[in-house]
Amino acid sequence: MDSVIEALPRFWDGFTTTLFLAVVSGVLSLVFGTILATFRVSPLKSLRIVGATIVEIGRNTPLTLVFIFFVFILPSMGYILPLGRVPAIIALTVYTSAFVCEAVRSGINSVSVGQAEAARAIGLGSTQTLSLVVLPQALRTVVPPLINVLIALTKNTSVAAGFAVVELTATGRGLARDYPADVLWMLLGVAFFYLLITIPAGTLAGYIERKVVFSR
């Protein structure tokens, strides 16, 4: 136990790095995922194809492979990224955006077409129809699945441990090596700090879900 307390500053560093990766990639993924979703429901076929292609690549590629691409392959082609957090955030964002997109798109599809038709009938353009009428209704149904995507993202940040980012999992690995007698405690400590992010997120999801349910 004492060793856990001794290791607390290292846990804390790992935790804040994980939180940083999760929050920054989370916000970016929400933005890009929503933009991708608007591509996928666009009246323009070319945008739909671009959206679908990006989503299928993001969804069907293992996250480690996405990391390898941004950490090793892209620099080898001459696109040098600063090491560490930046390629990790890019990889996590590319990967997570695809899932955000699909969640938002299913939310958009859950809004009846009559809503969009009524919006167009009063003269709203397609962007206004989406932003003023469809998306606000879609986002309400989309909050619970989105939180699940963000919880998955939090856990996925651990992949960055393999790519020179000392976040929670890398910290745990280091601590397990430095305190071989207390490996179990160190791993429990790591798990505890992940739960410190995911459990509040899940609670928030439940709260928002109750709050935004409305009758159609």
Partner: protein
Amino acid sequence: MEHSGSTAAAGSLGDPLVELKGVNKHFGELHVLQDIDLTVRRGEVLVVIGPSGSGKSTLCRAINRLETIDDGEILIDGQRLPEEGKGLAQLRADVGMVFQSFNLFAHKTVLENVTLGPVKVRGTKTAAAKEEAMTLLERVGVANQARKMPAQLSGGQQQRVAIARALAMRPKVMLFDEPTSALDPEMINEVLDVMVQLASEGMTMVVVTHEMGFARKAAHRVVFMDAGQIVEEAEPEKFFTDPESERAQDFLSKILTH
């Protein structure tokens, strides 16, 4: 000029406002609109009647381009319907539409439903839009519901809000696609009354409905559609008492027997 039983006077009608010329539309194999020629004049109230599946909704939706057409042309106030983009949105703003299923914006209050278009499309100031919206809600008899969400209103109230929402854009013409078919019988008249009132104020209207009372009271002309074609056009009294075509006779005998 007042013809028997009808309040509508065809003599006072203005220039062509909605013109369909040789309009054709297919859904795959199905030829839903077949060479439709139709002119609605300013101030005219046109009732479109016909069996289910005959293409009435498609006709309405083509007029504000919620459906594209394969060939022919549609003019609103002399202007061709633009293909897409800003021009189309502006033109749609001039054409009010009332749907069978109301389609009020579910996440907005009754008042916000009515002000959204004027504020976002016409650029009206919010305060002015609210004031005008309240006047319109007053006119359709639901001003006391202004702060409620659509789902808290009865069907008849929702449809009257939908009419107010369309009117808020100060449209040149109003399209109604079976506005009372989704309503419980006791609510039909409250909506029809609003429509009759609107007609008497000189609004140009295209109304898909089987409500003969409305047609007799307010329409200048009835158009009978069957299988994608306009089969017959007549004044309401003539159409309901002495239809020319066998298809119209057959259809009327079916809706009159119950």
